[in-house]
Subunit: 339 residues, 2 copies
DNA sequence: ATGAAAGCGCTAACAG
DNA sequence: CTGTTAGCGCTTTCAT
């Protein structure tokens, strides 16, 4: 493994110049820069990130703390963040908190503190004040994705607005008996997404003069399976069956489609179904949904961090709570209600 | 941020003792060890991984190179590896190669070489000799998961045996017209899994005296959607329809179940379907499958690496190609063939 | 624009 | 079992 000294020798300059030429900080004449680059390439030289970090205090590494890896939303955010970081020459160190609670504390008490990361991205995690403070003390910027964290810049879609849009789509088609499959309480603890979506749903009904019928609400766990069971309850009722279901996630909506089929109902003729996400599977199922763009959210989180780590303009405007895009995608799971 | 010196002062010992007490290498009296730990806790001291790495040459960080994040197999392997590493106090730095080809080369030419990782786990990646050599030169152990890499210890299920087991299950039920949905060529380039599974399938047929009918093979892309379309082809044939389908992955098998339903066929009465994986969704669909355990595979990969990084016994036995467990899970998608 | 040299914070001989 | 000390490989003032 060639060191900086060898590169310096080969290029006929000092190690300081090599460092400057390769990192881009400080001025170096084009001539020396070329010589250094050529020498580095010839020797296959790559800076040691440890030595560099120790000397400079910057690691060029970002920590991403995330509760799940095997769910569409989370893996998509992760993918977006990874891409954006790689492009900028940053590494991504992953902390998955899917296990029990003590993993969480060890991540916050040890892993994140050992100076391995310059900043952290917390995905759908409600951090305690103490956790935030700990990071803050170290001067590590923190940005959240999905689920607001007090005093921390966070990227999160407007869940109420998204839910309202989905519901309004059904209302516009003429539906009035619109059921909702939302999150159960357990899910609401971590981030208030289910509540917010439900609020949007109820708001839309209310504005349309439709009374909210509590019997048309069913909780589930955001999985296909959970959505299936919830929808069976809703659609199996002998009287007053809803003509439409708004599910708080595409996976639950897909479960609802399958439940409808098993009950002999034709979607969308007998029942319309709409979800939120635009999950990978949604197109296949012809699911109408409100798309959110988690990959983009991951990328944007990186953008926000970079602006704080390497401000392009001195007056870095801290985007407090950037609104994120979403978009209704009408496919074949929604139609006018049965006559 | 407290440093080692302050801890040493507070504990009344030298920095060397602090280092030894906290890292566990070298002998320290229980008394000093206790004092050091107490002092460290009081000051909220955590070693700087950079300084430690630079001085010791060990980073306590493992690189994981993986082609997808949003597929069940891959995210499960990742999750397993992450858990196992966290438990041992290691970090995991992620390199996702899902983008274009140049991401791959930059990962191998720069990221992995900057001394940030002690070792790398390559998931379902066929590395070039050059890539392997590059890592080898740096003295970085490398272990593969899924898909053999020449001269590198690799954890991979016996795809042929797994496929054979699935097929034999169908044969034992009395099926003789057994179709196979396998990978298309594109998939075979990276790791020969599709070919191996097909070989197992054909071997089982052959041993049972059943002739392989090429018309009963359909390629797909390992997704639900792909499996759906392939199965429609297979099951839509007016004559000589297969009575069973063996899909090379659960996602394709699930697609097949959906296709059968759309064609008015009842599973398993009219057609039996079996997959490989035991995907999260398989139980919900009642899919009979051969389970593999990707989370375990990720954990085992870490075990193998640890044995090389921190040998427990001097005579570290390099496990060349550990066979991995798999298990037939019979559910409700397979039955005797229609009369 | 470039070089000399002083560390960054810790670990690992080496003594004792 | 513990302290002393010399680096680990690079970045960054401070001069020039």
């Amino acid at each position: 493994m060639a060191g900086i000294e060898e590169v310096a020798k080969l290029a006929g300059v000092s190690t300081a110049t090599v460092s400057r030429a390769l990192s881009g900080r400080g001025h170096v004449s084009p001539a020396s820069k070329a010589k250094v680059e050529e020498a580095a390439a010839r020797l296959g030289y790559v800076v040691s990130s440890n030595a560099s970090s120790l000397a400079s205090g910057r690691t060029r590494n970002i920590g991403v703390v995330i509760p799940f890896l095997n769910r569409w939303f989370f893996s998509s955010v992760l993918e977006g963040a990874q891409r954006a970081l790689l492009r900028r020459g940053y590494d991504l160190t992953l902390y998955n908190l899917s296990g029990e609670g003590n993993e969480r504390s060890s991540v916050f008490e040890h892993f994140l503190l050992r100076q391995r990361v310059d900043a952290v991205i917390a995905v759908s995690l409600e951090l305690t004040e103490h956790e935030v403070a700990r990071l803050h003390d170290l001067g590590k910027p923190l940005v959240g994705v999905g689920g607001p964290i007090p005093d921390v810049p966070t990227l999160t879609i407007d869940d109420a607005a998204v839910a309202r849009l989905a519901t309004e789509h059904l209302i516009a088609l003429g539906h009035t008996r619109i059921a909702h499959i939302g999150g159960d309480l357990e899910f609401d603890l971590d981030f208030h997404l289910p509540t917010n979506r439900r609020t949007g749903y109820e708001g839309a009904l209310h504005d349309a003069g439709i009374e909210v019928d509590l019997r048309l609400f069913a909780p589930a766990d955001f999985t296909i399976r959970g959505g299936y069971h919830a929808a069976k309850q809703l659609l199996g009722a002998p009287h007053g069956r809803p003509t439409a279901i708004f599910a708080a996630s595409d996976e639950m909506a897909i479960g609802s489609i399958l439940a409808a089929r098993d009950l002999g109902l034709v979607v969308p003729r007998d029942v319309s179904i709409v979800g939120i996400d635009d999950h990978d599977l949604s197109e296949f199922f012809g699911l109408t949904t409100v798309a959110q763009f988690p990959r983009l959210q991951g990328e944007m989180a990186v953008d926000v961090l970079m602006e704080r780590l390497e401000p392009s303009t001195p007056d870095a405007p801290a985007p407090a709570a950037t609104p994120l895009p979403y978009e209704l995608r009408v496919r074949s799971s929604t139609a006018i209600p049965p006559v």
